[in-house]
């Protein structure tokens, strides 16, 4: 009964959003926090502020999607281990159980003097503290021949949901003995092992359904995350299937033709059945629109994840330039907790402790063959610096690899509960 009433009130707020230009109801004089982006960073920050301030702070979360499809573990869906539904999460609990005002709309700009966020649907939302966690967008012209209008022919599947489904459908529809090409991104980009875990999962899918198919990676990077582990795994499980063309052989000199479905790698034209273009990346556009970027990313101070350009705005996750942490869901979640503590401290005087950060990225190479890499971080004046790290070893036995995989499933449950309640 109680839940129903709350859920109903949640809907009421959402309806009010559409009709009234001013999203915020009459101010109770409570401090206001607005969070833009309901992903790994934003959902966590909104939940921790709402939960730990116990009603002392008004929290509004602005996020266009009704369901968040995680990028993390989307490769398991491509590999056939998970269903697409396993990746979807609703914002219902954040509204119903935590009292967060969830507004399904795009933020189009930030008036930093007036301290308001403009919405695509019209109107604006005032804030005392703003948190931006918009994830990534792609750098224009990064792969000549490709732009977002070509993402149906040549999907990136580097933002969650429909793109992931599209890429998988294309892989499943490949002709026998067909060719899959990945155009890998230059550093820095979202999820360093992500493209290579994807290669593993595509290979796993093809080995079962289309074993004579070929996989080519055009890669502008000399080396990549967990390289020894991936290469060992590809050799062991998918021998002869995967070819990687590194920068020495022109892997960084790529143009594509989405109409002809060809990829030109340093003058060599490859006709492909699936082309997975993962372009160079930059901070989600709202950061640039708000004037908070320097180059492609938004610089922040690691002590509290506050923007180096505006003391009332914290920026989290992939969009930031913070130092040594990789752009991962785990990192964004870790950063969100530091920012949430700092924001509560500033607005309600709650205690603030020194920031600690960590990250672990698990990857699946084949059935029950999981590996991981991780590090702990602490901020200094200049950046967030790695203080210690570890990585899985080549040649580990099956029991350990299986335990690592099972642990990764546990992590997924843990982090999504930590984000969405």
């Amino acid at each position: 009964m109680k839940l129903n009433r709350r859920a109903f009130m949640g809907t009421g707020v959402a309806v009010a959003t559409l009709s009234a230009p001013m999203v915020h109801a009459a101010s109770h004089g409570k401090p206001k926090v607005v969070v833009v982006g309901g992903g790994a960073g934003g959902a966590t920050a909104a939940r921790y502020i709402a939960k730990d301030s116990a009603g002392e702070i008004d929290v509004t979360l602005i996020e266009p999607s009704r369901s968040y499809y995680t990028c993390f573990f989307s490769n398991l869906y491509i590999g056939g281990f998970w269903e697409i539904e396993n990746l979807a999460h609703s914002y219902g609990k954040l509204a119903a159980d935590y009292g967060i005002n969830v507004v399904h709309d795009w933020a189009t700009g930030v008036d930093r003097d007036a301290k308001t966020v403009a919405l695509a649907g019209g109107g604006s939302v005032p804030y005392d503290r703003l948190i931006l966690s918009p994830g990534i967008d792609f750098v224009d012209g990064a792969v000549p021949g490709w732009d977002v209008s070509a993402q149906n022919a040549m999907p990136h599947a580097y933002k969650g949901g429909s793109q992931t489904e599209l890429l998988k459908a294309q892989i499943m529809a490949m002709p026998e003995g067909g060719t899959y090409v990945m155009v890998a991104p230059p550093n820095p980009y979202r999820c360093p092992p992500g493209p290579y875990e994807r290669i593993s999962m595509v290979a796993h899918q093809l080995k079962a359904n289309n074993p004579t198919a070929k996989i080519i990676i055009a890669d502008p990077k000399e080396s990549f995350s967990k390289q020894a582990l991936f290469e060992e795994g590809w050799q062991k499980h998918y021998s002869g299937m995967v070819t990687r063309i590194g920068p020495d052989f022109g892997g960084g000199n790529v143009t594509v033709d989405p109409a002809a479905m060809t990829v030109d790698i340093d003058g060599e034209v490859v006709k492909a059945d699936v082309v997975n273009v993962i372009p160079a990346q930059k901070a989600g556009l709202i950061c640039e629109a708000a004037g908070l970027t320097d180059g492609n990313w938004a610089p922040v101070d690691g002590a509290s994840m506050v923007s180096r350009m505006d003391e009332n705005i914290h920026i989290l996750g992939d969009a930031t330039n913070q130092g040594d942490m990789p752009k991962s869901g785990y990192s964004a979640n870790s950063q969100a907790k530091v920012a949430a503590m700092a924001v509560r401290g500033a607005l309600t005087g709650s205690r603030v402790f020194p920031a600690k950060y960590s990250n672990t990225c698990w990857s699946l190479i084949a059935t029950d063959d999981g590996v991981k890499v991780g590090a702990a971080y602490e901020p200094n004046e200049e950046k967030i610096a790695s203080v210690s790290s570890f990585v899985s070893q080549t040649g580990e036995d099956e029991a350990m690899r299986k335990a690592t995989y099972e642990e990764s499933i546990g992590w997924y449950e843990g982090i999504t509960t930590d984000m969405f309640g």
């Binding site: 921790y48 730990d52 785990y330 979640n333 870790s334 907790k337 503590m341 205690r351 402790f353 600690k356 960590s358 672990t360 991981k372 991780g374 590090a375 702990a376 602490e378 203080v387 210690s388 790290s389 570890f390 029991a399 350990m400 299986k402 335990a403 099972e406 642990e407 990764s408 499933i409 546990g410 992590w411 449950e413 843990g414 982090i415 509960t417 930590d418």
Partner: protein, 319 residues
């Protein structure tokens, strides 16, 4: 269940002492059958309670009870066997050939296998070692050095022991030493129902004794290996630190990225509602890299004594 264990207890108390040697074997068979039945019933209880959270607690209590009963039974059986031996065999002291057994037994910093054999007496009710040793309540200990934890094929280990093995825990002189000192500090919820050997010399002696039954003694360092054991022997003042729960709550947010707050433990163990001391000891075991998991070692490495106490205090008070 209560009836059965009541009956069982009286059988144990009565039969073992009164029937004595003459009926020793019959009584033993009978008790083993009882034990089998009890184990079977426990398995049934476990199965039928699998999805009922409140009943799970009962099952845990029963398992603990069973484990205690197992130990008691084993001790009683051992007493019966010892008595039988004493009666049938003339008092032959096994040839304690200290010279051939271990050349360096004279080194005081190294364990004395002959003394170790005596100390091992308290283990013998559950563990066999030596020629013809088989699994009993605990796995046999031949070849224990160098063996991966939880890896001996025929024995049914606790989930936590298996998990430690998958994480890379291998039985070497230092890990065995830590385990013997405080089994639950190294492997929480191990089935081994043993409080631990607090005296380092006892542990050195037992390990010196056990190492005779491992196939590759060349893997065992000849230099006094237990001279500087990596123990989880925490100073009382460390255990006495009263944790700051507010700070613990912030630090705990890092744990919750992986560990489920509702206590579920799929793939990653639950960490809520631990006794404070167990939590503190386990974290120090990771910090000193006695427990093997790399993520936990990394997390624990940068926690001060106060921070570990703060975390323990916070988790102890969560529901």
């Amino acid at each position: 269940m209560a009836n059965t264990s009541g009956l069982f207890m009286s059988v144990l108390g009565g039969a073992a002492l009164v029937l004595g040697v003459a009926y020793g074997w019959t009584a033993r068979d009978y008790r083993i059958a009882e034990l089998d039945a009890l184990t079977e019933r426990l398995a049934q209880v476990e199965r039928s309670n699998a999805d009922l959270a409140d009943k799970a607690e009962q099952a845990t209590a029963l398992e603990a009870r069973l484990s205690t009963l197992e130990t008691e039974l084993a001790t009683a059986l051992q007493a019966v066997e010892d008595a039988q031996q004493a009666e049938t065999a003339p008092a032959v002291v096994p040839e304690a050939d200290a010279e051939t057994v271990l050349a360096d037994a004279g080194d005081p910093s190294f364990g004395d296998p002959a003394k170790g054999e005596q100390v091992f007496g308290q283990c013998r009710s559950c563990h066999q070692v030596g020629q013809g040793a088989t699994d009993r309540i605990g796995p046999h200990l031949n070849g224990i050095f160098g063996r991966r934890a939880g890896a001996h094929a025929d024995y049914r280990y606790s989930e936590n022991m298996q998990m430690m093995g998958s994480d890379g825990l291998t039985w070497e002189i230092d890990t065995l030493d830590a385990y013997l000192e405080n089994p639950k500090a190294l492997v929480s919820r191990t089935r081994m129902n043993f409080a631990g050997l607090k005296d380092p010399q006892d542990r050195s002696d037992i390990l010196a004794y056990l190492r005779q039954f491992s196939a590759s003694p060349q893997n065992i360092p000849e230099a006094a290996p237990t001279a500087q054991p990596r123990e989880v022997d925490l100073a009382p003042e460390v255990l006495a630190i009263v944790g700051d729960t507010d700070y613990g709550e912030y630090l705990a947010s890092e744990c919750k990225t992986c560990h489920q707050q509702d206590g579920s433990d799929k793939g990653i163990p639950a960490i809520t509602q631990w006794p404070t001391e167990d939590f503190v000891v386990a974290m120090h075991a990771y910090k000193r890299q006695i427990r093997p998991h790399p993520v936990m070692q990394m997390m624990a490495a940068r926690l001060s004594d106060e921070e570990i106490a703060a975390l323990a205090a916070y988790f102890a008070q969560t529901e």
